[in-house]
């Protein structure tokens, strides 16, 4: 046989093998490898994030295709196709990791910003609370100072009125300087003392007073009782006419029944002729 004849025979043989391979059904592993690879190529997530691995998987797939075209052992074709499919899946997994890593990077930056925002708000809130605490403290100090000032003022006023603290309240004794002998109308000079008391009552609207009239023992009981009652009423009227609500003032007459000194001497009788003003504790009614 000539060389030409041998060449023709080989070519015909090869063509026959290719034709035989093409006529056989495609191995399932190769079909699966093609499907997996086509899907990966069509998926931008894979093709953009793992292009090199996808290329290597394509080379592996081409190798399987070539083996099948050559009519290699079907087991070998399936093996190569299997490897191509797995390499494509590796490309997909790597692409998924890269996408996740990129997302984690962006989220980490967002988290850093959020942490900063949270801490900033914490600081702002702490600052606001500190300011409020300072204001409350300042207010409390102002109230305390005001109360202390008020207490000091009260002490001073009581001192000016020559008052005494007793179980009944604060007792201010107005001696017979208020009235002329056997008279119930106030002396003009007495009003100065009473103005101070009116001022005190205006500044302490939570206080009420009892005005108690007393006489010495000169004269009959009825006379002295009436006189002490009229004197107490004079004081009460004076205050009422100076803006003190009537229900804050109650007048009582005791006549000579409650002497504070002996009625045997002028000095004692002078002490007994008196009006006592009882300034009741805060909130205690005069009635």
């Amino acid at each position: 046989m000539s060389r030409i004849g041998i060449g023709i025979s080989l070519s015909v043989g090869a063509a026959a093998l290719v034709a035989l391979a093409c006529a056989s059904p495609t191995p399932p592993a190769l079909e699966e490898a093609r499907r997996v690879h086509s899907a990966a190529v069509a998926d931008a997530m894979v093709s953009e994030n793992a292009p090199v691995l996808l290329y290597e998987a394509k080379q592996q797939l081409d190798e399987a295709e070539a083996a099948w075209q050559r009519g290699d052992d079907p087991a070998k074709v399936s093996h190569l196709a299997y490897l191509a499919g797995k390499r494509t899946e590796i490309a997909r997994a790597v692409a998924e990791k890269r996408v996740a890593d990129a997302e984690a990077g962006a989220l980490s930056r967002e988290r850093d910003r959020t942490v900063l925002e949270a801490r900033t708000r914490e600081v702002d809130l702490a600052r606001v609370e500190a300011d409020q605490a300072r204001k409350r403290e300042a207010q409390a100090q102002a109230v305390a100072a005001s109360e202390a000032e008020r207490a000091a003022q009260l002490e001073k006023e009581l001192e000016e009125l020559q008052a005494k603290k007793t179980d009944r309240g604060i007792v201010l004794t107005l001696g017979d300087v208020l009235f002329d002998f056997a008279k119930a109308n106030l002396r003009s000079g007495a009003q100065q003392n009473l103005y101070r008391l009116v001022t005190f009552l205006r500044e302490h609207p939570d206080r009420a007073v009892l005005v108690e009239g007393h006489t010495d023992s000169i004269g009959g009981d009825d006379y002295n009782l009436t006189l002490s009652e009229r004197r107490a009423d004079s004081v009460r009227s004076f205050r009422a006419s100076n803006g003190i609500a009537p229900d804050r003032i109650v007048a009582k007459a005791f006549g000579k029944a409650q002497p504070v000194a002996s009625n045997e001497s002028d000095a004692g009788r002078q002490q007994n002729r008196r009006v006592e003003v009882v300034i009741l504790d805060p909130g205690v009614a005069a009635w």
């Binding site: 997994a93 790597v94 998924e96 996740a100 959020t114």
Partner: protein, 44 residues
């Protein structure tokens, strides 16, 4: 052939594990951000 198959399967398992780890990391960061936002909301 067997060693090639085992190798590629091991590579795939490793790649999938890494991908899963990265996705868990993303979820954890998201959760942390949610917690921080809730803190901010409470503080307002």
């Amino acid at each position: 052939m067997l060693s090639q198959k085992a190798l590629v399967e091991a590579q795939l398992a490793a790649a999938r594990a890494e991908a899963r780890g990265a996705q868990i990391n993303v979820a954890e960061i998201r959760d942390h951000i949610e917690v921080l936002r809730a803190e901010i909301e409470r503080a307002q």
